[in-house]
């Protein structure tokens, strides 16, 4: 685990989790216990861990879908944990861009409508885009090499194209944090790096931090920092299993 230096007080980290503890049942042993984890502004963090190590749970907590039993998560300096459900949904819609492993797209919307989706839900993001919506989508699509697909139904896209559309949707309206949950695992290895590079490109343009979750360590070298979930999660398990 790379050392983390606290950022200056006037520019809070994109994400800070402290003393986080979570269990699916109240009296059960926590599956997740993380003393400290952060993502700085503009940082590209590679979070890895084998399946079952609690990656999905951690992402649920970070995205505000799950509520920790103890500890707190601060996003952009705001106490995310203390917010109510509605506020948290709103906050997620405004400040996060989320890319799933697969099936990212709403099947009944075309490519352009899928990219626009967050703008219909988050007023803040819609405002940020303003009147430039059309040209912004055009630029974003060009960066991702999908501008010729904008009018197409998503069912006609290849998996790689779908992931690019998902990246465009995650970054429309410039949210501060991109969370990518194994977005490359459905791609073949030739395409992984290319996809990752375009992902970095659009994230940089939006000035977003990236929290990239994967079990595929071959991509590790492309990131500014690498975190092993096993190392930060002290709930886990035998001390011997350090990688």
């Amino acid at each position: 685990m790379t050392s983390t230096t606290p950022s200056p007080a006037n520019t809070p980290d994109a994400l800070v989790a402290t003393d986080l503890s979570f269990a699916y049942q109240k009296k059960a042993e926590p599956v997740l216990k993380i003393p400290y984890f952060n993502v700085k502004r503009g940082e590209r963090v590679f979070l890895h861990g084998p399946s079952g190590s609690g990656k999905t749970t951690l992402l649920g907590l970070i995205a505000g879908i799950l509520t920790p039993n103890a500890g707190r998560i601060e996003v952009l300096g705001q106490n995310f944990t203390a917010m109510g459900g509605f506020q948290r949904d709103r906050f997620r819609g405004t400040h996060f861009g989320y890319i799933f492993q697969m099936f990212n797209l709403i099947p009944y919307l075309n490519v352009r409508q899928n990219i626009e989706l967050p703008l219909g839900i988050s007023p803040a993001r819609n405002q940020r885009v303003g009147r430039d919506r059309y040209s912004l989508i055009q630029t974003l699509a060009k960066d991702l090499g999908i501008e010729h697909l904008l009018g197409k139904p998503v069912t006609e896209l290849s998996v790689g194209q779908q992931q690019r559309v998902a990246a465009a949707r995650a970054m429309i309206g410039s949210p501060e944090i991109m969370i990518a949950d194994e977005p490359t695992s459905a791609l073949d290895s030739d395409h992984r790096e290319a996809f990752l590079k375009t992902l970095f490109l659009v994230a940089d343009r939006a000035g977003a931090s990236i929290l990239f979750v994967s079990h595929d360590k071959s991509l590790m070298s492309l990131f500014s920092r690498t975190v092993s979930l096993r190392e930060i999660n002290i709930a886990a398990l035998p001390a011997s299993s350090l990688s």
């Binding site: 999905t56 992402l59 649920g60 995205a63 879908i65 799950l66 459900g85 509605f86 949904d89 709103r90 906050f91 997620r92 819609g93 405004t94 996060f96 989320y98 799933f100 492993q101 697969m102 099936f103 990212n104 797209l105 709403i106 099947p107 009944y108 919307l109 409508q113 989706l117 967050p118 219909g120 839900i121 988050s122 949707r169 949950d181």
Partner: protein, 420 residues
């Protein structure tokens, strides 16, 4: 608005299911509103079986019974009205016209009505329509008969045919008047009222065939009076069964009714047809309530179909819900989205239903009127019908809560996990 647009896209994407669901909602709504229309049409046609007649006068008895035998040719009179009393009332200064009826005989199941030429002149149905002859002339001679259109069509008679009347009104008659046959001189056009199911003769004709009868029994052999002989003599009418009466004004009608009901010389009764008709309709309206209940259940079934189709779609849409949540949709928006779907389905389905109901009425209106005498008017939705549609709409939305709350709970438990 966003949810509504999203719901619309989602429905358009599942085109086949959406079409089938819309069809089931539309059909059930069309049936419901259609039944309502037929019910109104039936009620109106029923009320318009007879119009312009102010009073129906007969021997004292039940008013429904009088209505049934005088207008609907059903049942029998228990007593007669003397011709003398009839004449007296007929000549009253407030009376504009009368139509005498002499009932009691039949021909192969069809009632025979002895009447006067006033019938062709003054009888009205459906506001201002009068029975018109399509062939021949009105019955004037003693043994002339005019056929209602159903009678002519069913029995295949044409002008000049001879028919024998039967005593009594049973389909199979035991006592025939076949010694004095009648000649068909005219055929009436279709009226889609009980008029079509009767044969019209003159009062004299009815008197003639019973002339040689004594105490309700036919003459013994050799004592009968032949038809030729009757033609020569002057027939004296002793009694009729009932008569219709048109007064000079509405107020006169009420006065006349009182006068008839208080008539001293013999027990008579006068009824206002509109009042008696609605009384009769009330008596049989449980049938229409039943019809309405059944069509109401059909609507419930149609909307249940919608509920099931939405509910079934939920599982395959869990990933869609997760994606929506990832871009900031709360469970509340998911709920709204599902409600929007059922709202759209119910709304569009109902609109389609009403539309197809109108189209259907336009197509079958002439056929129904021709065959059943039921006139179903094409008119805008009544406030009652709007009320029903509103109720259906609300019910559809309420049913939509079931899958919506399921989706709400799913999206809470699934979060961003994509389950397939």
């Amino acid at each position: 608005m966003f949810a509504l647009r999203l719901a619309l896209y989602s429905l358009l994407n599942r085109r086949l299911t959406t079409l089938l669901t819309l069809a089931s909602v539309a059909l059930s709504v069309a049936l419901f509103v259609g039944v309502e229309r037929v019910r109104q049409g039936a009620r109106e046609s029923f009320a318009n079986t007879i119009s312009k007649t102010d009073l129906i006068v007969g021997a004292k008895g039940g008013s429904i019974q009088l209505l049934l035998y005088a207008v609907f040719r059903m049942g029998n009179a228990t007593a007669n009205v003397s011709y003398e009393s009839y004449q007296k009332i007929h000549n009253h200064p407030d009376v504009a016209w009368t139509i005498p009826y002499s009932l009691g005989d039949s021909h192969r199941g069809f009632r025979v009505v002895g009447t006067s030429e006033d019938f062709y002149e003054h009888y009205r149905y459906r506001h201002d329509k009068k029975p018109e002859l399509v062939q021949g002339v009105v019955a004037k001679g003693v043994f002339d008969a005019v056929l209602g259109s159903d009678v002519a069509a069913r029995l295949g008679y044409k002008l000049g045919d001879k028919i024998a009347l039967a005593h009594g009104v049973a389909e199979v008659a035991f006592q025939n008047h076949d010694d004095k046959p009648f000649k068909v001189v005219g055929i009436l056009g279709k009226t889609a009222t009980p008029i079509d199911r009767s044969i019209y003769t003159t009062l004299e004709g009815m008197e003639a065939i019973h002339l040689d009868w004594t105490d309700g029994a036919p003459p013994m052999d050799g004592q009968g009076v032949s038809a030729d002989k009757i033609m020569g003599q002057k027939l004296e009418i002793k009694a009729i069964t009932a008569f219709l009466l048109g007064a000079k004004s509405r107020i006169d009608a009420l006065r006349l009714q009182r006068m008839v009901n208080d008539y001293n010389d013999e027990p008579l009764m006068a009824i206002i047809p509109g009042v008696a008709l609605s009384e009769l309709w009330e008596g049989i309206s449980y049938a229409e309530d039943g019809l309405r209940v059944v069509s109401g259940f059909v609507v419930v079934v149609g909307l249940m179909g919608m509920l099931i189709s939405i509910y079934n779609s939920l599982n395959e849409r869990r990933r869609e819900m997760a994606v929506l949540r990832s871009v900031g949709a709360g469970p509340r928006l998911i709920f709204t989205l599902m409600i929007a779907e059922s709202t759209l389905l119910t709304g569009i389905g109902s609109a389609l239903g009403v539309l197809s109901m109108y189209l259907l009425i336009l197509v079958i209106q002439p056929i129904i009127e021709q065959n059943f005498g039921l006139f179903i008017p094409v008119k805008p939705l009544s406030s009652l019908e709007w009320g029903y549609l509103g109720l259906i709409f609300c019910f559809g939305i309420v049913l939509g809560i079931v899958p919506a709350s399921r989706a709400y709970r799913n999206s809470l438990s699934d979060g961003l996990t994509i389950r397939i």
